[in-house]
């Protein structure tokens, strides 16, 4: 009898650091089925794989809330820190001062960033810590069962919370005002855009803010809610089509009408190519970005894309003048000598 053919899995495709996509997985998600946050987590996995990140060089941080649980669900071989509600920025600051060579991916939510953590968020941006700061924004508190968050639209009606009488905090506007040099808005349902923005964000010199509308399928997914899947799918208005070009790759721009493309060079030599989908949008103009966001707010538009980009401000580690990671200093560089102690004490005699 002929041996039956041996069934094998298709060979895993490995990236340039020899890892398969599976190696970037985390623990199984405990979020609701269909939650926008799960889709973002899988884009992080995809991007880390495609960029061949070394997992041990990445740290993932979060605050508290549904969104903040998600770092457990990606990059299982990276150190993770699920911090306190609204306090991830300070923990990230400490961790990256200890080792500024690490790549940090922070995941927060709209309550975590827009309410309890608004202060730390603004100061993080002021200091320009080099990290990707993702806000998984669904306008609602999930774990406590459906209260409005600070990003919920005025007039929105929800089953638990009733009608929201207050205007929303626009976290992209807050970021631009605070001096952030990489501000983008996206939609969890637009996987490609999320991926390209994530890649570009990882190349940024300081804090890169990604405000990703990420529908809450349990508490805020009615068709008429601006943060629902169906609303987002129907109304998302990308300012441009984004393409990330790593430093090693040749830049090819198809010959198109002038003004249709913008090429933005990122801090590490990579580029992001923006193909305008509507009127020309210049993401390097701060006031124009604020005006466009204001207009979107007034007109109820759901604009996405790279809203603002400015790589000129140094990161916190640059400001501090750090060289060898502080966590890796050998004892002899940490403790000055006995002679130095005597010298110092001489002045106190």
């Amino acid at each position: 009898m002929e041996n039956p053919p041996i069934k094998t899995n298709p060979p895993l495709r490995l990236n340039t650091v020899g890892l398969s996509k599976k190696d970037y997985d985390g623990a199984p998600s405990t979020l609701c089925k269909g939650c926008g946050h799960n889709s973002i987590a899988s884009q992080i996995v995809q991007v880390a794989y495609e960029l061949s990140l070394r997992p041990h060089e990445v740290i993932k941080l979060s605050g508290i809330g549904c969104s903040s649980k998600s770092p457990a669900y990606f990059l299982g071989m990276s150190h993770g820190f699920n911090a306190l509600h609204g306090r991830m920025p300070s923990v990230a600051t400490g961790a990256l001062l200890a080792n500024h060579t690490l790549k940090a991916i922070g995941v927060s939510g709209d309550g975590d960033t827009g309410s309890i953590g608004l202060g730390q968020f603004k100061h993080l941006l002021r200091r320009n810590l080099r990290m990707v700061y993702i806000i998984e924004n669904n306008g609602v508190y999930g774990l406590t069962k459906g209260q409005f968050s600070a990003t919920a639209e005025k007039g929105l009606t929800l089953k638990y919370a009733g009608k929201n009488p207050f205007p929303p905090v626009d976290l992209c506007m807050e970021a631009i005002v605070a001096g952030c040099g990489f501000v983008a808005r996206s939609f969890a349902g637009d996987a490609k855009q999320v991926r390209e923005l994530l890649k570009a964000a990882l190349s940024h010199r300081g804090t890169a803010v990604l405000d990703i509308i990420s529908p809450c399928v349990t508490f805020n997914n009615e068709d008429d809610s601006p943060k629902s899947y169906s609303y987002g799918t129907q109304h998302e208005k990308p300012l441009h089509e984004l393409g990330f070009i790593p430093p090693s790759e040749e830049i090819v721009i198809e010959p198109l009408e002038p003004g249709e493309f913008r090429l933005v060079e990122l801090h590490d030599g990579s580029h992001i190519r923006l193909r305008n989908l509507g009127p020309d949008y210049d993401p390097t103009d701060r006031m124009a970005a604020l005006a466009r966001l204001h207009q979107a707010q007034e007109e109820g538009e759901f604009i996405t894309g790279l809203l603002y980009y400015d790589p000129s401000r140094p990161s916190l580690a640059e400001v501090e003048g750090l060289s060898t990671p502080l966590a890796q200093l050998p004892p002899e560089r940490l403790r000055p000598s006995q002679e130095r102690l005597s010298e110092v004490l001489q002045a106190y005699r």
Binding site: H56, S90, V91, A92, H123, E320
Partner: protein
Amino acid sequence: MSVLERAQAAPTAPRPPIVNDFSLVVATANGTGSQTANLTLLRSFFRLGIPVHGKNIFPSNIQGLPTWYHIRVSHEGYVARKPPEILVAFNPATALEDVQTLPPGGVCLYHTDLRNLPQRDDLIYYPVPASELVAGIEVPVKRKSYLANMAYVGVLAWMLGVPLPVIEEALAVQFDHRAKLVEDNLEVVRRAHAWASEHLTKQDPYRVEPMNKTEGLILMTGNEAGALGAVFGGVSVAAWYPITPSTSFMDALRTFLAKLRKDEGGHPTYAIVQAEDELAAAGIVMGAGWAGARALTATSGPGLSLMAEFVSYGYFAEIPAVIWDIQRVGPSTGLPTRTSQGDVAFAYTLGHGDTKHPILLPSSIEECFEFGWKAFDLAEELQTPVFVLSDLDLGMNNWMGQPFTYPDRPMQRGKVLSAEALEARGGFARYKDVDGDGIPYRTLPGTPHPQAAYFTRGSGHNEEAQYSERAEDYVRIMARLARKFETARQLVPPPVVAHTPGARLGVIAYGTTRYAIEEAKDRLAQKLPFSFLRLRALPIGPEVRAFVAAHEQVCVVEMNRDGQVHGILQAELPEFASRLRSVAYLDGLPLTAEWVMTRLTEEAQRPM
């Protein structure tokens, strides 16, 4: 009555000289620059070899409110606060009250611009015509009012017999040898001295004579000493939010780090962040500690309240951190520029849920330095937040001390697994008690090994650091943390015990109350001999139980209202709860030996 008439109207009965044993107070308005004059006096006594200590009793204010600087000179070496016999009355707002506080036979040096100075027949008055003495010196107007303070330095130098060259040396140190400043100030001192020699007759018994009791010693504030200790402990990240009385700790840290921690390329090997609040400061420290850098913050009571959230996290997620609390008077904003030992109970169990933390209790600049570096060893060995509870009196005032001893052992970085160690062990479980001491192993982010990573969270977790709500997992982790605290008991600095043979009374105290107690102990040696145990840390070790067991009655002396450590000791030593007595008091001022003697005597007379 003219200036000179008043001086001559003082009592004339000769008294035997009192040499190197007095307490003086300088009363001025805040912001008038008297600190320079006061520190010059302090340094002059120190340079004469006489044990000395100064306490600044200052207001929460930038300019105008009253401030008092106490200097105690004691050939016996006592440095506790003692009600002053000599007053320098330079503040019209408080002069009335200040003069009334002097004991009979006391001395009052007064600014001749003061109006309506109370007349007491039992005091000796010396005028200080400060305005006239600075007239004609070419300096900007603002500096002129500062210089006026040097007039009382000059008159005191005359009165006490401080040689002018000693004052000059002290001024040189004070002004970091900037010649013009030294000369301007010295000129006023000289003029005042000459004026006093010519116009005044010495009628008081107080004077100084050189001795050799400060030879080799240093003079420093506790905050400077603690910051220097931290530098020799390898601090690399510091985050803080300004709050009196901890601010000078961070100022000193910045100065010392800039001097001592640059690499060959001139790059700093440290980072200091002034955070947006104490909450963020604590978060930065946790993040840095987690990632493997030695990190600290310094704060005071209100800041500690904000840090509670992160301290609870750090306890449960097991992250090394060092938190200095320079205690001031609460509750709330309280008396923000006065000293206290009011945060001990709060700090000991800071955080929600079941939490407890090692606390170091320095009493001197030597211990501030020592605990400055040791706190990092403890925090990393135990993987937990460690507190150092100093106080305003220790932190902000200048104290004499022995030159600091260089750390006597290499840095203890605790159980951190390298990539090689992980390879050899075949991985690790972050929260597992492998060695039986309650302390697990950890790895640092950036460790190049596929099994290095783990997930840190403040929510329930099992030994593998996975999310868990299982009752058994929670209980196992909490029981191990309790075990770890028992290990901490053995690692923290033991108490210092002075046994008095045959004494029925024991006294337990900690921090700066020691000075009043040590003086009281000498003075009560015949009448009420007692043994003294000075706690240097919590949790307590077996020495404390033995000490309490060995005395019929044990008074716990501390500077708070409710006897916080008394309460902790009663809970830790329930079998001795009834013999532990609380002798607690807080008015914002350091204790005096007199008060301690009175209270101990009262307690000794109370039935058991």
